[in-house]
């Protein structure tokens, strides 16, 4: 098992508010980790510290064993150039898709390879075609985001991140803004990605999905990892009272297995 990402004693504060209180985490190549926790527990902040959308207040991030930033006497100092390169290696998908509205689906997916990686036009086109095909939207290549459904927009956003050929993918509640009938197509796309061996960190409230794709589930509470383990360990047989309460809230009403054939 090769380690791809490690967080060591990661802290993040916004002014007086301490959101992450010393996170330690090692992620193996190809591992799928699902983060769950109440709203405001710091899940988004944790993801955003991993690709330096937010700069950690203290602690260290290691990629393939190499620390990001330079240790100085007054803490870790970061150079914007290095952070830009790190972000290019880590894909991120947002709750609200954030597709570029002035570009077609194809142009959205080509933008990273073109502007950031400076690929040749042929290479950009190739990558974009491949990724759009992978999310099943090559037939929408020339559509603008406003002409796509929410589920399709989110799949284009996934393709846009994948076109950078990232080493890790971060997903922050990517189905929360979708109509219920569009959630499935996005989850299936993510499941396929997981099956191909992509390393993924996923924040989601879709616990059934978490159960079936996660190698490991982390329960975050109050800026700490309160409990972690395999999906059955955390989702079926939680030990901590906070985890139990959280799960109670998420499973008050359940459908017996629908008979669909």
């Amino acid at each position: 098992m090769t380690e791809i990402l490690r967080l060591r004693n990661l802290h993040k504060s916004f002014g007086p508010l301490e959101v992450l209180k010393g996170i330690d985490l090692a992620v193996a190549q190809g591992e799928v980790i699902v983060l769950i926790g109440a709203s405001g527990s710091g899940k988004s902040t944790l993801l955003r510290c991993i690709n330096f959308m937010e700069i950690p207040t203290s602690g260290r991030v290691f990629l393939h064993g190499t620390p990001v930033g330079r240790q100085t006497s007054s803490g870790v100092s970061y150079v914007e150039r290095e952070l830009t390169q790190i972000r290019a290696r880590i894909g991120m998908v947002f709750q609200h898709f954030n597709l570029f509205p002035h570009m077609t689906a194809l142009q959205n997916v080509m933008e990273g390879p073109r502007t950031v990686l400076k690929c040749s036009p042929d290479e950009c086109r190739n990558r974009a075609d491949n990724q759009l095909r992978k999310v099943g939207l090559e037939w929408k290549a020339d559509a603008y985001p406003s002409q796509l459904s929410g589920g399709q927009q989110q799949r284009v956003a996934i393709a846009r991140a994948l076109a950078m050929e990232p080493e890790i993918m971060l997903f922050d509640e990517v189905t929360s803004a979708l109509d219920p009938e569009l959630v499935g197509e996005v989850l299936i796309t993510m499941k396929e990605l997981a099956d191909e061996g992509m390393t993924m960190l996923i924040v989601t409230h879709e616990l059934g999905f978490a159960y079936s794709v996660a190698d490991r589930v982390l329960f975050l509470a109050d800026g700490n990892v309160l409990e972690q383990g395999s999906p059955p360990e955390v989702l079926t047989y939680p030990k901590e009272e906070a985890t139990k309460n959280f799960l109670r809230g998420h499973s008050s009403f359940r459908l017996p297995e629908p008979q669909l054939d």
Partner: protein, 221 residues
């Protein structure tokens, strides 16, 4: 009433009017180009947080937006030369007033346009590894400028109308020529009617175009 309209003196002076029209357009075009360029710079300064940059830009915008253009033009023609080491002719004074006024308004258009782009757009660019400049150039400005265009075109319309104010300091634009002709020929009714028509013919198509363009923007979302 029984007033007999007589346009012969207007037609007889058509060369003079043409020169006036030409001067109006030169003044308007000069101030538009200079005003927009300066506005981009001032707008950028207002977007920055450092007080040493932000404060002068804010002061500039507020002063020029909240005083009459006529006062600005008169000030640059009658007051400024006293403290300025260089000679100020009517064209320079009018250009200064109108350019700075246009810059102040367009600075606000630039700033509002960039702010109107959602934070998620910057973030999406950043997340694929774009630098700040790349985010601005590839993602934010293309969206912002589309939204700013109608406002800029309205500025151009306003500016064209304001050029007539330069007549008060005897810059030889259309209005000034008309005043000269009507004093000599005693035909203010005919003369100013024609001037109004010329301005209308010049500005109305521009205004129509802006309206069309705004509708088109709305349709394409």
């Amino acid at each position: 009433m029984g007033y007999q309209f007589d346009f012969s003196a207007v037609i007889g002076n058509w060369k003079l009017l043409l020169i006036g029209l030409q001067n109006s357009i030169i003044l308007g075009a000069t101030c538009l180009v200079l005003g927009l360029s300066l506005g981009l710079i001032v707008g950028g300064m207002r977007y920055m947080r450092a007080p040493i940059v932000n404060w002068p830009a804010t002061a500039f915008v507020e002063v020029f937006r909240n005083t009459p253009v006529l006062v600005q033009i008169m000030w640059f023609f009658f007051a400024f030369p006293i403290i300025s080491p260089v000679e100020i002719n009517a064209f320079t004074a009018a250009s200064l007033g109108l350019t700075l006024n246009t810059a102040a308004f367009s600075a606000e258009i630039f700033r509002a346009g960039i702010r109107s782009v959602e934070k998620g757009q910057w973030e999406a660019g950043k997340a694929i590894g774009m630098t700040y400049i790349q985010q601005l150039r590839r993602i934010v400005l293309p969206q912002a400028i589309r939204r700013m265009l109608p406002a800029f075109m309205n500025r151009a319309v306003e500016l064209m109308k304001m050029t007539s104010l330069a007549s008060v300091i005897a810059y030889g634009e259309l209005m000034h020529k008309a005043k000269q002709i009507s004093t000599l020929e005693f035909n203010p009714i005919e003369m100013y009617t024609v001037v109004a028509l010329i301005f209308f013919a010049l500005i109305f198509p521009l205004a129509l175009f802006v309206q069309r363009f705004e509708l088109k923007l709305k349709d394409s979302g």
